[in-house]
């Protein structure tokens, strides 16, 4: 186990220790014990930057199940490192924030930090695993820990609902991703991402390519809350705010982005990938920003905004994949899209993290997150207001904040879709910049709502539970750090990010473009000159301001959309219908009557056997091997048939029992006739005993039931029983006609006396050649005897009555 592995599972190890800290040091907030881990890890991963900048990849393998090719291979390259830094960096800030956010006295802190650390370890595992199965294991661990965190306040109905919803959706995606992983394994024979990428040509030509692509994308889209799977994210806002900031803006929802970026070298050459990723991304962007405007809860606004920003990143990744259709780096106009995706990924983590924390502060200090109750907080919380404004303006894409830079690059990428001339992009390409622009307008509007409806306007003290005041300093530290990053990245994007993080990440996403001697040169400009992107941004601002000011007038268009058609309704209905449907289905056939079950069993028996007999052409009658029929056999057979048939028509149960005895005795006569004296002996005794037992049962029947009339006729029963009889007869005939090899009984005949010193062959077989069966039949009889004794003697119910 290398240090790298230890770093990945360090949060998991600490998670074991957290409850001890919580129990032993009640005076100290447990978060302080947790805080060093993400900081240490951040520092540790920071030291990798110098390696990845030189395109070096660190790979360390720890054997797990080597025979199946499943090993915990940790791989640090540009993309993985970028995510690892985000996870640990924002993780540290979130832990710090949560120390001030969660009360030491009221909350179950040990639960919180255990879940959070589980999540952190799982997330690190996802982004740093090279083995797909290991990645999947961590992936599911993120789903579970997210489930636990969303349901942290489990006494609330809505928390449980949100947790269940996110669980169902992300696990659905996770499972389909597992399917994709298995398909990839079938195609390449390897679980290693590095190895799979080298075989991408094989995969592209393989018939399983499309199913694998769709399965993997399902996993990515559900996790990253892409349309139509975004519905879990707004409901996940029931989690504590640090969780929302960490999981549902900065890390977990980016696992899908990570997956798409990671597997771009495998799938992206195909047009379907471009269309799906870019198309779903751009529509999610539009839909998320459109829906965010109508929300009244601050966290819901941020949730939909996260959805839309993830769509933005996703669409950029899709468009960026087009660059694989060019050979070199020169004139490769689509690389800018991938660059923008990575850049915006970082930016989004900074400003969205800070915005969530700001909203948490507002919630914490005023007791509500409803923008209809808030207003005029600027006088009470100037620092929070500043933080919110910077975060929101960056989100809206205004200078001088980092969102501006990535938004400009986003427009550049989307405009270049117009130049795409493959995969019939030229037909619909215009949709991309148009949707992108409209979505940006909506983004601008909700960003403004977020800031100005909360902090400006009229102060409504009567609607608030507490008197608002500025948050404690500790709570402000994390958002301040993030917000300063927002500004710093705007002014120094190149010296900070491009060479250290973005270019190495690009190498991981588009490895085929890098040849010996060339490298990605990422240069982010604040000023592009007067180009279409700038005018688009100006248009966004102008139209956005106009629409924001006239918001009450056009807000009604949201009511036009029918409530019945919302995706949440659809989801709730689907869950409901799945429950009632399966309940009804089970109820329809599990009716509790043994007769029905027997009908199912026998019908199944008939259908399976008859069809296989028919399809295999197995029915055959061969009369060559048959023996001559004697008069006694015929007579006995007639006797047995008459006795068996008259059981069905007998009037009383007593006659049925006697007739059954007659059948048994006739069978023993058959044994006599077919020269089986031991069988005849046993059969006689057993038949006598069982008839006696039947008589005992009959004697104890309640008086009312004793003289029941004859068996009632039921057509189903008749058909089924005739069917079973016919099928078994046919099979017996065919089996007898299809004997392929002689019996092994010759051996017994020769050796019964020679080897086993007995003359009675049946008995020698029973106790000598195959004595094991006899042993366990003895056991069966013993169990039956003990069981009967137990049933008669043990009367717990009666004992209780006494």
């Amino acid at each position: 186990m290398s240090l790298l592995h230890l770093a990945i599972i360090a949060p998991l190890i600490l998670a074991i220790l957290v409850p001890f800290f919580y129990k032993s040091f009640r005076q100290i907030h447990t978060g302080w014990f947790v805080l060093p881990i993400p900081i240490l890890l951040f520092a540790y991963f920071f030291s990798f930057i110098s390696l990845t900048r030189e395109k070096e990849v660190v790979m360390k393998t720890l054997d797990w199940i080597p025979s199946l090719g499943i090993n915990f291979t940790a791989k640090v390259d540009g993309l993985g490192l970028l995510f690892a830094l985000l996870i640990t960096g924002i993780g540290a800030l979130v832990v710090l924030y949560s120390i001030y956010y969660l009360s030491k006295e009221k909350e179950k802190l040990h639960n919180f930090y255990v879940y959070l650390l589980l999540f952190m370890g799982a997330m690190l595992g996802v982004v740093l695993s090279d083995n797909l199965i290991v990645m999947y294991a961590f992936w599911e661990l993120t789903s579970f820990s997210s489930f636990l965190l969303i349901g942290y306040w489990y006494h609330r109905e809505k928390s449980r609902y949100g947790a269940q919803k996110s669980m169902l959706i992300t696990v659905f995606g996770g499972l389909s991703m597992l399917g994709g992983i298995i398909l990839l394994y079938l195609m390449t024979g390897s679980f290693s991402i590095t190895e799979i990428i080298t075989q991408s040509n094989v995969i592209l030509a393989h018939p399983l390519f499309i199913p694998a692509l769709i399965c993997v994308l399902l996993g990515a889209f559900t996790k990253s809350a892409q349309f139509p799977f975004h519905i879990w994210l707004p409901d996940a806002m029931e989690a504590p705010t640090p969780v929302s900031a960490y999981l549902h803006s900065a890390t977990m929802v980016k696992a899908g982005i990570y997956l798409v970026a990671r597997l771009t070298p495998v799938f992206a050459v195909d047009g379907l990938w471009l269309w799906l990723v870019a198309g779903f991304g751009i529509f999610t962007l539009f839909w998320g920003s459109f829906s965010a405007v109508k929300q009244t809860d601050l966290k819901s606004i941020l949730a939909f905004s996260t959805v839309s920003q993830l769509g933005l990143i996703m669409s950029l990744l899709g468009v960026g994949a087009a660059s694989l259709h060019y050979d070199g780096l020169d004139d490769n106009i689509y690389i800018v899209a991938t660059t923008a995706a990575i850049f915006h990924l970082i930016n989004h983590a900074t400003f969205k993290g800070s915005l969530f924390m700001v909203v948490g502060i507002v919630d914490h200090e005023t007791g509500t997150r409803d923008i209809r109750k808030l207003g005029g907080l600027i006088n009470f919380m100037p620092i929070t207001f500043t933080l919110a404004m910077i975060g929101a303006f960056s989100m809206a894409g205004l200078p001088p904040f980092n969102g501006f830079l990535s938004k400009e690059m986003f427009f550049t990428g989307m405009l270049r879709v117009l130049e795409m001339d493959f995969f019939s992009f030229d037909t619909f390409a215009i949709l991309f910049p148009v949707l992108a622009w409209i979505a940006s307008v909506f983004t601008f509007i909700y960003s403004m709502i977020l800031v100005f409806k909360t902090f400006t306007g009229k102060y409504q003290p009567e609607k608030l539970d507490k008197k608002p005041h500025e948050a404690p300093l500790g709570m402000l530290i994390s958002p301040i750090i993030l917000v300063s990053l927002v500004i710093i990245i705007f002014f120094f994007p190149n010296s900070l990010l491009s060479e250290n993080l973005i270019a190495p990440a690009l190498v991981s996403i588009l490895p085929s473009l890098v040849t010996e001697g060339t490298e990605f040169i990422v240069h982010i400009y604040q000023w592009h000159g007067f180009n279409p992107e700038l005018f688009m941004t100006l248009g966004v601002i102008a139209v956005g301001i106009l629409l924001y000011l006239t918001l009450p007038k056009w807000r009604r268009i949201y009511d036009l959309f029918p409530k019945k058609l919302t995706l949440n309704r659809f989801y709730d209905g689907a869950v409901e219908r799945a429950q009632t449907g399966s309940y009804k289905f089970t109820k329809s056939y599990m009716n509790g009557s043994i007769r029905s079950y027997l009908v199912y069993i026998f019908t199944f028996f008939i259908v399976i056997l008859a069809t296989s007999l028919f399809y295999k052409n197995a029915f055959k009658v061969d009369t060559n091997k048959l023996a001559a029929i004697g008069i006694y056999e015929v007579l006995l057979a007639l006797l047995i048939v008459i006795a068996a048939a008259s059981i069905l028509f007998a009037k009383t149960r007593l006659s049925q029992i006697i007739l059954l005895g007659a059948v048994g005795y006739t069978v023993s006569l058959f044994y006599v006739l077919f020269r089986a004296p031991d069988l005849a002996l046993t059969q006689l005794v057993i038949e006598t005993v069982s008839v006696a037992l039947f008589l005992v049962c009959f004697y104890h029947l309640p008086k009312l039931r004793r003289e029941e009339t004859r068996i009632r006729f039921k057509l189903t029963n008749a058909v089924v029983s005739v069917g079973v009889g016919v099928v078994v007869t046919l099979i017996a005939l065919s089996a007898h006609s299809n004997k392929f090899f002689p019996s092994i009984s010759q051996y017994y005949i020769e050796n019964t006396y020679e080897k086993a010193a007995g003359k009675n062959m049946v008995n020698v077989i029973l106790v000598d050649f195959r004595g094991f069966d006899t042993l366990f039949e003895i056991a069966v009889l013993a169990i039956a005897a003990l069981g009967i004794f137990g049933m008669i003697k043990l009367r717990l119910a009666r004992r209780e009555e006494e």
């Binding site: 006599v672 006739l673 020269r675 004296p677 005849a680 002996l681 006689l684 005794v685 006598t688």
Partner: protein, 94 residues
């Protein structure tokens, strides 16, 4: 010669079996049926003995003995049941 005799004997036994079965079914009282069943048992002994001669084997002598015992026990059990209402009496002093 012997064969024909045996077959005739079997035929006669079969006839008497039919008569006894008629008595079992018809009744009219339970003791009638019990006696008929007992006779059937004894008839079975005879039939098995004759079949043993036909098959030229002595492997079925145990079956004959067993049938004798079973017929006896069965008749006794039935008689006791008719007489006292139970077959196994409980120990009184418990």
């Amino acid at each position: 010669m012997l064969d024909t005799v045996i077959h005739i004997a079997l035929f006669c036994l079969a006839l008497s079996m039919i008569g006894l079965i008629y008595r079992v079914i018809k009744g009219p009282s339970i003791p009638d049926r019990v006696i008929a069943l007992d006779a059937i048992g004894i008839n079975l002994i005879a039939i098995i003995a004759l079949i043993s001669i036909v098959l030229k084997t002595n492997a079925f002598l145990e079956v004959i003995l067993l049938l004798g015992i079973l017929a006896f026990i069965g008749t006794v059990a039935f008689s006791k049941y008719l007489e006292k209402g139970v077959i196994f009496e409980r120990e009184r002093d418990r």
